[in-house]
Amino acid sequence: MEDIIVCVKQVPNTTKVKLDPVNHTILREGVESIINPFDDFALEEALFLKKKFNLKVSALTMGPNQALEVLNYCLSKGADEAYLLTDKKLAGSDTLATARSLAALIKKLGYKVIFCGQESIDSSTGHIGPSIGEFLNIPQVTHIEKILNYENEVVKVKEKNEFGYNIIKVKLPAIFSFLKSKKKLKRGIYSKDTKNIKVFSLKDIDIDENLVGLMGSPTRVVKIDVDDTIDYFLKVDSNLTAIERIKIILKGGIEEKKDRLVYKEINNTIISKLIQIIK
């Protein structure tokens, strides 16, 4: 039986992802892999509870062998155990198949509290928490800012919503998805060390292999495009003369509104016009 299981994901540092200008594919080479920042906050909350209540914290990830780097990161920050679920047949899993696989392993390990990040910075779906919750048939709380209390098998959390906050009490077992907060994170160390990682493959968990990986994933990515919104702003009409093109580029490449009103100083006419618009 695990006290707290933290689900983590290894992600490319998306701020540094580059695209192949010809094929429009993602250039992964040379892009560093990091722990998904949302998961790092979830881990931090788990380690805070570990200290306070003397609980055992385990980190869990699914992915290729190299994903053990994030598990070592979690161990270096103070996690007690690290589990890697890896199998060739898991490749191509969408969020449904991923949650199904993770839930199967969590079931095998025994669970009480499951933590995860609200979303990952690469795919940003926010599906995994609720989906694992559904597969295990346990309550979920998402968009959590922080844990407020943990006693007598009841967890109290602060959940952010569009209107403000809810303080929610939930009886365990349950799954919690954490937002990033302003809290300063302790840094961990990534390493390729294998000795403290417990590795599981598909045959170790109780699941039909047709329900995982590509075969078990209902969704298919059929096309990848580069976002052209930025290009739209920077587009310069090729029919223009060189001088005009240079002029536009110097202005930041933005297409000017044709019928705009420009005021070069602030006077009472403008103020009364603005007041009229506001009212």
Binding site: L96, K160, L214, V222, V262
Partner: protein, 396 residues
């Protein structure tokens, strides 16, 4: 075994399928196309381009009877006695899809105490061409939790088999949609910014990933319903009035064994009521680095309160700590569509412009005449931000 089957008698080796496969899963061996099982993702793009009908698909999950699923559903939250404006954006998009698929739209309204006001819903939705309204009155629920609502929607899906189910990407919708999809064991795509229908009647769900740098098109070819959550304020609201007596309204009382036994909201902290959300506001006052300080931002907030405008901020202002991240407008923050946008000391970095370019009227004040935002503004004022704030304050 690979469910993609190539009929060697029909295949002419024209290589059309090779060109379209983004996974390089096809090759020509002895002048016939062959699928590489390791690489194929069963996306069926090759099937669609083959002019000779040489490629067919063995359905792995025939029990799902895809064709028996019909209709487009939009799930509507009616939790605080109102419907967020953005839900009508989803309905407008659903209308576009329904014109192509020729399937009817049903709005599923989840709320409490709906019986007395059922005619109001008829009136509201007649403006948007919705022919079917289903009111689900959760009579014994105190708080709306995704776990409970997922069970209710699941029961409806199993009974009525819609082909498409759309959610608005509110915090609640984003927590509910994956819960429902996992119960039904079908596919779900998050935070879509565009929806289309493919030639073979699949819902193409388009969404940004990798921090918005990449746009992925996703389909759910062998499972139904096809489910997606939609990003607020991307789609335009289009009215499409129909007569109220053309509307089918179904009322359903639901009493469920709620999760409230083990999960409870013990208190709620509401933001200042004056603090209007930038998602829904008609007027937005956005502050940028030009405001100079936290005090400058406070002045903007003070003024916004006076005229019921919502306050937004640029990335630079948020990073300085002048405004909360929830106020961020732009590619990594909120996408807005207000009637009037005011930019006070906003320079107009590309990532901000992406978030506000759809505003109906743009008014920008900046002391730098070269500030990009002045170029896309309807009214561009070159001048001191503090001067204009003070003068507006005197007049308002």
């Amino acid at each position: 075994m690979n469910p993609i089957i190539i009929d060697k008698g029909k295949c002419t080796g024209c290589k059309k399928c090779l060109e379209v496969c983004i996974y390089n899963a096809l090759e020509i061996i002895d002048k016939k196309a062959v699928v590489n099982i390791e690489k194929c993702t069963l996306c069926r793009l090759c099937m669609n381009v083959c002019k000779f009908n040489a490629i067919s698909f063995f359905n792995i999950d025939q029990g799902k009877e895809i064709t028996s699923y019909k209709g487009i559903w939009v799930i509507i939250e009616y939790f605080n006695n109102n419907i967020k404006n953005s839900f009508f954006q989803v309905i407008s998009k659903a209308n576009e899809l329904s014109e192509i698929t020729k399937e009817e739209i049903t709005v599923i309204i989840i709320g409490k105490g709906l019986k007395q006001i059922s005619n109001n819903f008829k009136k509201i939705f007649s403006e948007y061409g919705v022919k079917n309204i289903k009111l689900i009155d959760c009579i014994n629920i105190i708080n709306f939790f995704p776990e409970d609502i997922a069970r209710i929607i699941f029961d409806e899906i199993i009974l009525y088999k819609p082909s498409i189910v759309l959610f608005l990407g509110t915090n609640f919708g984003r927590s509910l949609a994956p819960r429902v999809a996992s119960k039904v064991r079908t596919g779900i795509t998050a935070d879509c910014t565009e929806l289309k229908i493919s030639d073979d009647n699949n819902l193409i769900q388009i969404r940004p990933t990798y921090g918005g740098r990449i746009i992925a098109s996703i389909i759910c070819p062998f499972y139904r319903p096809q489910m997606a959550s939609v990003r607020p304020n991307i789609f335009e609201i289009k009215k499409n009035r129909i007569s109220m007596d053309k509307i089918n309204l179904e009322y359903k009382e639901v009493e469920i064994d709620s999760i409230e036994k083990i999960k409870r909201v013990i208190s709620t902290l509401k933001k200042d009521s004056k603090d209007i959300s930038i998602d829904e506001a008609d007027i937005i006052f956005c502050g940028g680095l030009g405001l100079g300080s936290k005090d400058g931002f406070k002045m903007l907030e003070y003024l916004a309160n006076k005229v019921n405008a919502a306050v937004g901020a640029t990335r630079a202002a948020v990073d300085k700590g002048w405004a909360d991240a929830s106020k961020l407008i732009g590619q990594t923050g909120k996408i807005i569509r207000p009637k009037i946008y005011f930019g006070f000391g906003v320079s107009g970095a590309i990532h901000h412009l992406i978030g506000m370019k759809n505003s109906k009227k743009i008014i920008a004040i900046n002391k730098d005449p070269r500030a990009p935002i002045l170029k896309i503004a309807n009214i561009a004022i070159i001048g001191d931000v503090h001067d204009i704030l003070c003068r507006l304050n005197n007049e308002l």
